[in-house]
């Protein structure tokens, strides 16, 4: 079993793929017009930036960005399933989002462990932040 690390070639490739896919679906949404699609595109671009930003806060909360991006993409897929149009570009965008979620799950499994435990740790009042 190969262990994935953020600085290994596989880790860098995985992260790059996540960023490219997030930007790709963001770009597709930006071409659809309307406020909702534009906001959706902005969200994807911000999430992509947060996935690679080298600033301390982004690094510290990258696990949360991963979860947030999964929730964001899943919401977009469910929203499209319920009300969205069925045509080629929509299918492409949803395909990208499904692959994006799969890659994010791989990262979460490799770097974060159980996301529920991570959330519980973050919300626990006895953490370093609570003591500060």
């Amino acid at each position: 079993m190969v262990t994935l690390r953020p600085t290994s070639p596989a880790g860098v490739l995985l992260r790059a793929a996540i960023v490219v896919l997030a930007l790709a679906t963001g770009w597709i949404h930006s071409t659809l017009g309307g406020l909702l699609f534009s906001l959706n595109a902005v969200g994807y671009v911000l999430a992509a930036a947060a996935m690679v930003a080298p600033i301390g806060l982004a690094v510290r909360f990258r696990w949360f960005v991963r979860l947030g991006l999964i929730a964001y993409a899943a919401t977009a897929i469910v929203g499209w399933y319920l009300t969205g149009p069925r045509y080629d570009v929509a299918y492409l965008a949803k395909g990208i989002e499904i692959v994006l979620i799969a890659l994010l799950v791989i990262e979460i499994r490799a770097y974060d462990g159980n996301p529920l435990r991570r959330l519980r740790q973050a919300l626990r009042p006895s953490g370093p932040a609570a003591r500060a």
Binding site: T31, L32, G33, G34, T83, P85, Y87, V89, A90
Partner: protein, 134 residues
């Protein structure tokens, strides 16, 4: 190329007719039958989309008769025309192909029973209008 010119000509005629008929205030624009020998055959109506808005809030067609929607998408974003039963909710009666503008497509719509319908862009559900089949 000739087909494009012809469809443009028909569309311009449709727009001119629609503008002329729109002088009746907010009343529905009735379906029109082209006088020339070109397509579309039979009854047809013109609808255009620009700035993510349909150019007509209401249209009317003859009930129980298939008709053609000449749909011009003036935007560079994708639009289509779908027809649903009633003012809200309701079953879909027709789904036009989504396409990006600027372009014009003709939709062959099957006959509608008498009643009130709404035409909607599936990509932008805020784009909608009233369709009455009488």
């Amino acid at each position: 190329m000739r087909a494009v010119r012809r469809s443009r000509g028909i569309f311009i005629a449709a727009v001119v007719a629609a503008v002329a008929l729109s002088g009746c205030g907010s009343s529905a624009v009735p379906a029109q039958t082209p006088t020339g020998s070109g397509d579309p055959a039979g009854t047809w109506i013109a609808i255009a989309a620009g700035n993510i808005v349909f150019d007509q809030p209401a249209i009317s067609v003859a009930a129980n008769q298939p008709f053609t929607v000449v749909f011009e998408n003036r935007d560079t974003v994708p639009h289509n025309v779908s027809i649903f039963v009633g003012e809200t909710g309701g079953e879909r009666r027709f789904e036009g192909a989504v396409f990006t503008g600027s372009a014009t497509r003709w939709y062959a719509v099957p006959a509608l029973a008498p009643g009130t319908y709404r035409f909607v862009c599936d990509v932008h559900p805020s784009m909608s209008g009233r369709l009455v089949a009488t």
